[in-house]
Symmetry: C2
Subunit: 118 residues, 2 copies
């Protein structure tokens, strides 16, 4: 089966101030379209799911071991399971596609709540 | 650990005429930046990996059970393991991010060959 989702059009959820997420998922894969306003931030955290992301617009500054890694359109990162990381948007904000495997239950539940309220 | 990959900058591989792919992967996740020229096509096929994609630019027309599904920027699709599908680019071509879990070995090997030759 094939499922279609309008990530840009469905009701997003807001896990942190200035950060807007819109997620879809299958059995073992999740994709999350993330919009971050200028200077908005995702604090340091970790999770058991492997994560992979691709920058679409603007700049994301990934924080790894206290070092800033600025990333622009077409650049990607792979974060190993359980590895601590964080990030903030550059001066113009950013849009990125974040991917998780397995599905992140907290983001799935946040999207289901947003979709049913929106 | 965090790995960084310049998907837009590394040497791509070409699985079909007019279709250019640039892949990165971790342990169980792969992301593939796909550029398709106007009218280029990925014939009907299937694979055991689950697949999820997000359109970034232009139009992708996904072929599912003989029905065309036109998708634009911000729209996504989830293809179940083993499900037959294909796609073609619209009149202006398209750019999309395709995601696979587990890692697709054929695309990994094609990227490794492209990167070592480029």
């Amino acid at each position: 089966v094939v499922t279609f989702i309008d990530l840009a059009g469905q009701q997003p959820f807001t896990p942190a101030p200035g950060v807007s997420m819109s997620a879809c998922w299958g059995t073992g894969l999740m994709a999350n379209r993330v919009e971050m306003l200028p200077g908005s931030e995702i604090p340091l955290h970790s999770h058991p799911e492997e994560q992979l992301g691709v920058i679409i617009e603007g700049e994301l500054i990934l924080d790894v071991d206290g070092e800033p890694h600025p990333l622009g359109p077409g650049q990607a990162y792979v974060v190993a399971s359980g590895f601590r990381h964080g990030g903030r948007a550059g001066a113009d904000g950013c849009v990125l596609i974040d991917v998780f495997g397995p599905v992140r239950a907290d983001y799935r539940d946040a999207q289901l709540a947003a979709s049913s309220s929106g």
